[in-house]
Assembly symmetry: C2
Homo-oligomer: 211 residues x 2
């Protein structure tokens, strides 16, 4: 998976007044905080403080806290889409590629749980007003739909409506991702590897053309 190095956003020098690229720095700082401490403990005050900037400086660059979170979620969907495309391409754009996509999806969620929580769940309601967020989420979903259409053309997948088929597969990976993130599999299959592998086989049987 393409991993962007977690470079720390620079603190403002005490002397200078302007930060430089405060918008970007705030997004990165929010990301770091969310990844280490979770979304629920993210405060605008702390973000400002860690950048050596007033706690209200954020409002010059984001309309409010929700807008900051929408930007985080949007970045998450971008990374997820890249991970999915890479898996699909690198494994031959067929059944193995499709399975690799599923694995990549679950791994992304397991590796960036806080990220994933911002992308889905409870913020989405307010994020749905953010056009860029919706667009990025749609782009990620389209990778899945396209891969299904391509497999249907190759006679690998049953010729049902691709978008409902995609929503079914999405449900499976999303469900696994959430169960893993919420620690619902803790103890029996913490990372969800056994489940992911098993589900890959079941989904293959569920959607194959030659059933």
């Amino acid at each position: 998976m393409a991993r962007t190095p977690a470079k720390r956003p620079h603190r403002k020098r005490p002397g200078q007044y302007h930060h430089g690229d405060l918008q970007r720095a705030m997004l990165e700082q929010a990301l770091r905080t969310i990844q280490t401490d979770g979304v629920e403990t993210l405060t605008l005050r702390a973000v400002g403080e860690q950048l050596g900037v007033s706690r209200t400086a954020l409002y010059r660059h984001f309309s409010d806290k929700q807008a900051l979170l929408a930007a985080v979620g949007r970045e998450g969907f971008r990374r997820l889409r890249i991970a999915l495309t890479a898996a699909w391409d690198e494994h031959g754009r067929g059944r193995p590629g499709f399975e690799a996509m599923g694995v990549a999806y679950v791994r992304f969620a397991a590796a960036h749980p806080a990220y994933y929580r911002v992308m889905f769940g409870r913020f989405v309601e307010s994020c749905s007003k953010d056009a860029a967020f919706v667009e990025e989420a749609g782009a990620a979903f389209r990778v899945l739909v396209d891969s299904i259409v391509e497999q249907q053309r190759a006679g690998l997948v049953r010729p049902d409506d691709p978008s409902i088929l995609a929503r079914f597969v999405w449900s499976v990976v999303h469900g696994m991702a959430m169960l893993i993130i919420d620690g619902q599999l803790r103890g029996v299959d913490t990372g969800g590897d056994a489940l992911t592998h098993y589900a890959a086989g079941r989904v293959r049987d569920a959607i194959r053309a030659d059933a």
Copy 2:
């Protein structure tokens, strides 16, 4: 589905000092608020105020806000389990019964989204310390596992490890439930009926013994 009438918890009379059954009243009031306004807007202060009681009275009955939410989630799992058992029993404890369980699961989530959000997602971490919560969640899961074992004995379902098979099915319904609740299907299949119906057929093919 068995629906408990949403009887409003009684306000304390201004004159009297003791409320009576404040613990129960607070749980019910929290439920009402969550169902109408969502979890994120639930405040202990409002709960107290609506019951005509001081905003700190709650601490006599719950250790903190998390404990209140754990009690809500626990009640949610109880109702979900009852709905699942009813669907399974009333449709013949076979393939139709299993499909009815799946439908009942998704319907429960769609009908009580805020409930479902408390049961899963982000609170679970702290709820996992609450023994009663964990027990109730386990009981609901066991209904699913038992139904799978029963179908395996009848030769209807492939003889894989029942618990991993159950986790796969759980992922499917949980994934659908979350997508519906988060409004991710809004516009195309808002209530998720088309998806639920389609998924039922796919899951049947995925887990059938005579594949």
